[in-house]
Amino acid sequence: MTQLDYRQGAGGTVPAPAPANLADILERVLDKGIVIAGDIKINLLDIELLTIKLRLLVASVDKAREMGIDWWEHDPALTSGRGRDGHALEERLERLESAVGVDAAEHDRERS
């Protein structure tokens, strides 16, 4: 998968293939495609949560890796106690977002 990036280059118009970022892949592989129930069940709410979680992770993961941080492997909010209801989901999201420094203003703008 490549990304044609028109922002690069002196002329700014020559598409330069670059690896598509993880967020683009997740958006398709987790959210789209044929859904036929297999024998192993995955909770749909969890897929939603995962996509958001990974998106947040993607935003911060490069920096974290630079610094040698692998907090997501150890943070109990990320690795256990999977929320099953909307309230738990909200709570987990808030913790995730504050963990990766997404500020409230950005959040509000997205929701409005």
Binding site: Y6, D24, I25, R28, G33, V100
Partner: protein, 272 residues
């Protein structure tokens, strides 16, 4: 779980379904979600499932959900899922499954193929010879606001008004600037989507989502997917390039990704 039960679970294999291909298609050679088990096809009539064996210790009931919570694991598997489908698309039509479809035995995969045969065959016909392209429109609101300011008359000189009136005028001006920016973006999104759709057999609009990091705010205002005949792919890219050229001075740009397997152009839910 006892030690012996655990070891038998580890040995047991399930069948992970990547997607649907035409019967007789060659399975791709790239590593799948479990590199020890290359993807193969399980056929039934005109359609075949692209499957790979997976250990139930990793993908079985309960285990799969646990592993979804491990970002490192999930990233690796999601990329493998995508890589297999991309490689398969090189040699023919593909209907991608969403991540995480696992069957406990081959008979169940065959039953699914038989049950969904008509839908799947129609799905393959729909995407044959075409690939999906993604186009995102992104905006830097600060640059857009600057461009809008520079192209409209400046507000009245506040020094001639009282302090309260000046404050209100400023607030009103800010609100109008926000509305102007939203209106301008909507118009750009509509035009861009119409132009890109004209190059495509089918088009889909997804909700714009945040892709920005806190450090570099860029808002997605257009998130389009386009199912394009291979012979028209250059046309779509040219269109995106022209859009970029036209709007770049407004803090707007367009990211093109692809070719993707046609994730956005398969029936989202079929059958049971």
């Amino acid at each position: 779980m006892t030690a012996s039960a655990r070891s038998s679970t580890q040995a047991a294999l399930g069948h992970y379904v990547y997607g649907i291909v035409e019967a007789g298609a060659r399975p791709p050679l790239v590593d799948g979600v479990d590199p020890r088990h290359p993807a193969r096809t399980l056929g039934s009539g005109e359609v075949a499932a692209l499957v790979g064996d997976v250990p139930l210790a990793e993908f079985g009931e309960g285990r799969l959900e646990e592993n979804l919570d491990r970002p490192g694991w999930l990233e690796e598997k999601v990329r493998a899922h995508e890589a297999v489908l991309e490689a398969a698309q090189e040699t023919g039509a593909v209907l991608p499954f969403r991540f995480g479809t696992v069957y406990l035995n081959e008979a169940h995969v065959h039953e699914m193929l038989v049950r969904e045969r008509e839908e799947l065959a129609a799905g393959l016909a729909r995407v044959r010879g075409k690939r999906e392209w993604g186009v995102k429109g992104l905006v830097n609101f600060e640059l857009l606001a600057e461009w809008l300011r520079s192209s409209e008359p400046a507000p009245a000189d506040p020094s001639e008004e009282g302090e309260g009136a000046a404050y209100l005028a400023r607030r009103q001006h800010e609100r109008r600037a926000r509305e102007d920016a939203d209106g301008a973006l909507l118009a750009v999104a509509e035009e861009a989507h119409a132009r890109l759709s004209a190059c495509a057999a089918e088009a889909a609009l997804n909700s714009p989502r945040r892709t920005a990091s806190a450090k570099r705010p860029r808002d997605v205002f257009l998130n389009g997917a386009y199912l394009v005949e291979r012979s028209r792919e250059a046309e779509l890219q040219q269109e995106a390039r022209e859009l970029f050229e036209r709007f770049r001075d407004r803090g707007i740009h367009f990211d093109v990704t692809g070719p993707w397997p046609p994730y956005n152009f398969v029936a989202v839910e079929t059958g049971a």
